[in-house]
Symmetry: C2
């Protein structure tokens, strides 16, 4: 346990981290207005710090800021959703391949522990935590590939994916996709680079196809489009 975020002083990184965590775990739904005074009071810091945190999140596209109109938890459009997964499909499969070629027993053990935690969270019914761990798994793979720059991109894309899932997930595919993670771990452990790449590619395709990205959807249509028919 113990997120790197939890035990620090009131700096903006921490506030940003706490907010990001809440967004990632679907405790702050897309569209929620984030009032600076309010957030500041919750965390016991001034608006200065909150503002800095919100700007960081806006830079990661987890929050949108409009001049004089405040900050809201982002509502990725369908187009943006497609773009996010397009970017992931360019970055992650080949990164998984590199990871398979470089992974050490220590890496594999840590990944295994990570997967165990995922299962635990799922069985405990903590779907928010499960979702977040499931995303972190992808970042971990980039770390194993020893590519911090790519890992940072993937971390951002994973966070945005969490918002996309909140908006466009269709429940029918309730079976959590942790099987895919198990298979990936095995491919990494065995050093099967090509297989790891293919598995990751397939995993991402599965993810996209579990979303409803046909235009008619219900969620982010900002009031103007929502009230037509």
């Amino acid at each position: 346990m113990s997120d790197a975020v939890s035990a620090m002083d009131g700096t903006s990184i921490t506030v940003a981290g706490r907010l990001a965590l809440a967004i990632h775990e679907h405790r702050l739904p897309p569209g929620t207005k984030l009032i600076e005074d309010e957030v500041g009071e919750i965390f016991g810091v001034s608006r200065t710090v909150v503002r800095s945190a919100l700007q960081q999140l806006a830079h990661d596209r987890l929050v949108t800021m409009q001049k004089n109109r405040g900050a809201h938890v982002a509502q990725p459009t369908i187009r943006e959703a497609r773009e996010v997964f397009e970017a992931r499909s360019l970055l992650e499969p080949r990164t998984a391949r590199s990871a398979a070629a470089r992974s050490t027993p220590t890496d594999i053990a840590r990944l295994q522990a990570h997967i165990d935690e995922e299962h635990l969270a799922i069985h405990a019914g903590d779907s928010g935590r499960a979702l977040r761990l499931s995303g972190l798994f992808h970042v971990e793979i980039a770390r194993i590939a020893d590519q911090d720059t790519i890992a940072a991109f993937i971390a951002q894309l994973v966070a945005r994916s969490s918002l996309i899932i909140a908006l466009y997930w269709q429940k029918r595919t309730a079976l959590c996709e942790s099987h895919a993670h198990d298979a990936l771990l095995r491919a990494l452990a065995d050093g099967k680079a090509g297989l790891a790449e293919d598995l990751m590619k397939g995993h991402l395709l599965d993810l996209v196809s579990s979303l409803d990205l046909r235009g008619a959807a219900a969620a982010p249509t900002s009031l103007k489009d929502a009230l037509r028919p």
Copy 2:
């Protein structure tokens, strides 16, 4: 001409843009200390705005900020340099492929105009501007591919590449690589997706091999490593 950045009021986006431009054009060398009061006075804004701008740039890795020790123009390490070009090699070739498949005559005309400007800047001896335009070319291709998310990543990577070039470029390859851009444009215009992908891959490889990324280099070694032998 007329950068989108130039004519605006004193918001932090503008300050960040102006600073980024200066970094991109090698007018602010890596390692330069950016004192908040000083920058604020130059742009006629308060430290609040400057701070916000610096944080944005830090998020893009153009600037490093250490607690209580201020902001400096970043000095990418050799490792980071490799990572940046690794990320580019994952994103750009396949994005060039998409662009070739989608490009319209309007796109091609705009790209051609862009390249003409590049040549102009080179012949005018304005190497800073030439460098920046040359980077923007890569972003434009992602825009033609209609992938704003990927374009944003590439924009960041291109900006960081500018710092990397400032640190590790070996002058001997003085011939500016605008031939590569010409060839790419032709591939896009002809809709030759596979060729565009290959050309981009080769172009990036050429770029990397024009750098001196052997560990012994002179530049970013922060004093501690610099004073060993």
